[in-house]
């Protein structure tokens, strides 16, 4: 049995430092995630301490290491964008001196399907992945758990308490302030049995850092994956194979991160999540009735520069209220963020709300145990109350990815049309900064109206939704296209002429019949038509029909169904 040394080499520490400083230097940080910026500073300082303690290679100048440590100590919120490039330049220079030829060649090519017999799966989510990016991997992670039902699963995350909620039974280790912890733990081998244990390690991040080559210690039965969402890339080494294999998914059906995750599941697990791309933990079920208040969960923060003042939000809510159906009482629950700055910002929103909407109920989200929201309990605070919310408005991508998984209709304000990040959920609606004013109040009015309908969609509506969902989930062939044309045509013959976004349906009836006519005269592979299916099922008209056709359940039952899974004991 061989023991990997637990003392990290300077080159390994520099690799990690490069990753953390890259995030600090390149990722935008506003008030919305100042707290996470502190986490990254803390990790860098821990790496600086490790550099001080580790043996320094002969070809490295000790003064360079001292300069590096000095820069890390100096780094703060006020200067991080200036200091980080200097650190990265110095780390680059040092890495160059330490560069060793890769011990194994890397080849581009197809990947092997993963074993179903792993005794352990270790997942590490790196610092470049935002919480929203992490949640995007849920679809793959969930399929992986089904692929290896007997494996013990350990997850290392910088965001506390997320994976236990999404995948009950996993052991979750928060490694804030301990950047080397996952790699230290993997290097510890206490018995021959553990050394021979069949194991999968996957390192998932937004960027590709090649840490699978540089920091994951090799073992005879250890398969290692590195997933880089921002590059739609996967790297792999199986059972200490002499090759590193890499594949970049350039030709995805939809240019969307969920499509990348779907492709991963196809290649590595042999299961497509199908063209639905996205599956919730809990399905949407209508839980409002005509008497209840309509509870809106609002998250106004983002890692990027905040576009609005607290007063803007109060004005926007007023416009939404104007478009809400008559008799609907909106109640606002506002996410306070994780920093003093964000708490002050939210206090400003509530103050302006009193001016613009004196009668509107609005409060700050608190944990059900009465404590204020903090980094440790934020996910629990949100998910333990998700069943009580009727919808969410969010600027932040983490709630955009998280809350639809629990069946909550979510309105996302995107900074721009960066479709690759958009959640392909039937109950997630997008507007951009340019269209918020003109679209969001009306859209929300229409959705609230739809959610409050007691009668579900009629048969013709249900057939349109069934045709779309059939094509997404099972089989998208010529018959599926004709089925969409036929059901949509029948619906439009008798639909209420005031039905919202009817113009979209009329456009799509033409588009689908044009596609069917074209396919008849010059048949094409149905894969080429998937982007049209994606666009159709992403239209507001289709989504409203979908909600309407899901309006079947009684309030109590559905509220219970939407409740987040309980904290699992590990």
């Amino acid at each position: 049995m061989k023991h990997h040394p637990t003392t990290f080499k300077t080159s390994e520490i520099l690799e990690l430092l490069w990753a953390y400083q890259g995030v600090i230097g390149i990722r935008p940080f506003s008030e919305g995630n100042r707290e996470f910026l502190d986490v990254l500073f803390g990790a860098s300082r821990k790496l600086a301490v490790a550099l001080k303690r580790t043996p320094i290679p002969q070809n490295i100048n000790r003064n360079d290491i001292a300069t590096l440590i000095g820069l890390i100590d100096e780094q703060a919120v006020t200067n991080h964008t200036q200091i980080s490039p200097r650190i990265l330049d110095l780390v680059d220079k040092l890495k160059e001196r330490l560069s060793e030829a890769d011990s194994k060649p890397t080849i581009q090519g197809s990947l092997s399907e993963l074993s179903t017999d792993y005794s352990r799966i270790t997942a590490i989510f790196g610092p470049a992945s935002g919480l929203g990016d992490q949640i995007t991997f849920f679809q793959f992670f969930s399929a992986l758990k089904n692929h290896c039902p007997d494996a013990e699963i350990i997850v290392y995350s910088l965001y506390p308490d997320i994976w236990k909620k999404l995948i009950p039974g996993v052991k979750e280790i928060e490694f804030r302030g301990e950047p080397m912890r996952p790699f230290e733990d993997m290097a510890k081998v206490t018995s021959e049995e553990e050394y021979q244990q069949s194991e999968l390690v996957f390192y998932a991040d937004f960027e590709s850092f090649d840490l699978h080559k540089k920091l994951v210690p090799p073992k005879p039965n250890r398969d290692v994956l590195e997933l880089a969402m921002g590059r739609w890339k996967v790297s792999m080494n199986e059972q200490n194979s002499p090759w590193y294999k890499v594949k970049v998914f350039n030709a995805l059906t939809y240019r969307n991160n969920y499509s990348y995750v779907d492709a991963l599941s196809g290649d590595l697990l042999g299961v497509k999540l199908h063209n639905a791309l996205w599956k919730p933990v809990v399905d949407y079920q209508n839980n409002t009735d005509t008497k209840s208040t309509f509870k809106v969960f609002l998250n106004t923060f983002s890692s990027k520069e905040l576009p609005y003042t607290p007063e803007h939000w109060a004005q926007l809510v007023l416009e939404i209220k104007k478009k809400a159906p008559r008799g609907v009482v909106l109640e606002l629950i506002v996410f306070p963020g994780l920093d003093k700055l964000t708490q002050d910002y939210v206090a400003g929103i509530l103050k302006h709300m009193k001016t613009y909407n004196p009668e509107m109920q609005a409060k700050v989200l608190a944990h059900p145990d009465g404590s204020e929201v903090n980094p440790q309990n934020a996910i629990d605070a949100i998910l333990s109350q998700v069943a009580d919310f009727d919808c969410c408005i969010t600027l932040d991508t983490f709630t955009a990815h998280l809350l639809p998984l629990f069946g909550l209709p979510t309105f996302v304000i995107a900074y721009k049309e960066n479709y690759e990040f958009w959640v392909p959920s039937p109950w997630t609606f997008y507007v951009t900064l340019k269209t918020v004013e003109s679209h969001l109040p009306e859209l929300m009015g229409n959705v609230i109206q739809t959610m409050r309908k007691v009668q579900p969609g009629n048969e013709a509506m249900q057939k349109v939704v069934a045709a779309g969902e059939y094509a997404k989930a099972d089989c998208f062939d010529e018959n599926a296209v004709q089925n969409i044309v036929g059901t949509l045509n029948s619906l439009l013959q008798n639909i209420d002429k005031e039905f919202p976004y009817l113009w979209q349906a009329r456009q799509w009836l033409f588009k689908w019949s044009q596609l069917a006519a074209a396919d008849r005269s010059d048949p094409v592979d149905s894969g080429g038509l998937y982007p049209f299916l994606f666009a159709w099922t992403s239209s507001e008209f289709y989504k409203l029909l979908y909600l309407l056709c899901s309006t079947k359940k009684e309030k109590k039952k559905s509220a219970k169904a939407r409740k987040a899974p309980q904290r699992s004991s590990v």
Partner: protein, 168 residues
């Protein structure tokens, strides 16, 4: 497959052939699409097939780069031998005299028959109705309006989005 969607797809194909004739200036094929006693209405004026085709010849001479963009099906009624389909359209062309590019929005409605299952569809009625520009102005006013109380973009964020990548 239901007969109606089969027919609707065929009607769409006729519409696309009509579009092709207009865009290619192919008056001969346009002639073959219309039955001899077809009812043709251009912005309220009834025209015979010959009058309509004569006008079409003139348009071909006077207008360059005509383009019809069909947007949506406003109405349709189909069975195995008769069809009615009404579509919104945006027409663009370059006027060779003024050398300006023009755009008009309108509705084009086809009435069609298929006397025999083996024969192609024929146009028995065609209505081309442009939306008057005064109405377009009214329609445009209330749609997608910003009241200006929110900023719509940020100079520091525009162009960055969520995509950030490192030098590697």
């Amino acid at each position: 497959m239901d007969l109606s969607e089969h027919t609707l797809i065929e009607l769409t194909d006729v519409v696309m052939r009509f579009k092709h004739c207009v865009e290619m200036g192919d008056v001969g094929t346009l002639h073959s699409l219309l039955v001899s006693d077809s009812q043709l209405n251009l912005n309220g004026r009834f025209l015979s097939r010959e009058e309509f085709l004569e006008r079409a010849e003139t348009w071909v001479q006077e207008y360059q780069r005509p383009n019809l963009r069909f947007d949506s099906i406003e109405d349709c009624e189909v069975n195995d031998s008769k069809g009615f389909i009404s579509q919104t359209v945006q027409a663009n062309w370059i006027d060779t005299e003024s050398w300006e590019e023009n755009t008009k929005h309108g509705l084009i409605t086809f009435e069609l028959i298929k006397p025999d299952p083996m024969e192609p569809w024929k146009v028995t009625g065609l209505t081309i109705a442009a939306v008057p520009s005064s109405i377009m102005q009214v329609l445009g006013m209330g749609k997608g309006q910003n009241f200006g109380f929110l900023p719509t973009q940020l100079s520091s964020v525009e162009g960055e989005g969520d995509v950030y990548r490192f030098k590697v």
